[in-house]
């Protein structure tokens, strides 16, 4: 049955009507441009947010009482940030996940579970989910 219909379709020499062809062309054009617009929007939104990320480290506290390294961060950019990773001397460390999200103009302590020795310098690298690095050397007192 299906084969018959297909054969009849192939044998049919009549073209589609001009109205239908115009309609088809319009639909295809609109679909392609909608796709292009959506893609541009998605790509540029991500770019805009990445460009707008600015974070400053106000304070680093090598806390002897808790044995952690506490970093006070402030979001001075134009996009919310989410901390996705923390590296101390290029080694990944665990940190308090609940304080890892900072809205614009907000600040808070990021507690890094990492052992440290007095007098030694540590390279602390904080990475956001968009790939921004906030890194510097800090010496434990």
């Amino acid at each position: 049955m299906k084969k018959k219909i297909f054969k009849r379709f192939l044998r049919d020499k009549r073209a589609i009507t001009p109205v239908f062809s115009h309609l088809l062309l319009t639909v295809v054009a609109v679909a392609i441009m909608s796709l292009a617009t959506s893609a541009t929007f998605v790509i540029t939104t991500n770019m805009k947010e990445t460009m707008g990320e600015r974070v400053v480290v106000e304070d680093v506290w090598f806390n002897g009482a808790t044995g952690t390294v506490n970093v006070y961060l402030r979001n001075v950019g134009k996009a919310d940030i989410q901390i996705s990773g923390v590296y101390v001397n290029h080694v990944g460390q665990s940190f308090n996940e609940n304080a890892s999200r900072l809205q614009v103009n907000k600040q808070g302590w990021l507690s890094i579970a990492c052992s440290w020795e007095a007098g030694k310098a540590y390279y602390i690298d904080i990475v956001t989910n968009r790939g921004t690095h906030i890194a510097d050397y800090y010496k434990a007192p």
Binding site: V30, T37, T44, K48, D59, W61, N70, K78
Partner: protein, 117 residues
Amino acid sequence: MLSLVLVVIIVGNVVLRSYQMNQVDLERTQETLTIANVTRMEPAGLSIEVKNTGAVSLHLVAVWVSDSTEHQRYDADVFLNAGESVTYNRTDIALPQGAFLAKVVTERGNIAVFSED
């Protein structure tokens, strides 16, 4: 045609954001400040002399007082014009006995530090 206009608007928005962020970075690099002195007030509190040595006005948003056992942040709200000095007094901040580190933080994220041994 409408899609083309939309794409141009979206891309224009990104260019605008890039310009904005360049402006933010430029202003941040132009902003410089120093703490001339930190003194203990009687009967309680501290007094910080801050000088805006930069070419742009600044907004102090925080004061930090740290020693070996405690790092404490206090919210602040002080505006300084370019070249202006101000003595910022706080009766609610107690300076620790012995060595301490005092910091002031601006809204743009710059920090001035003063240490007392």
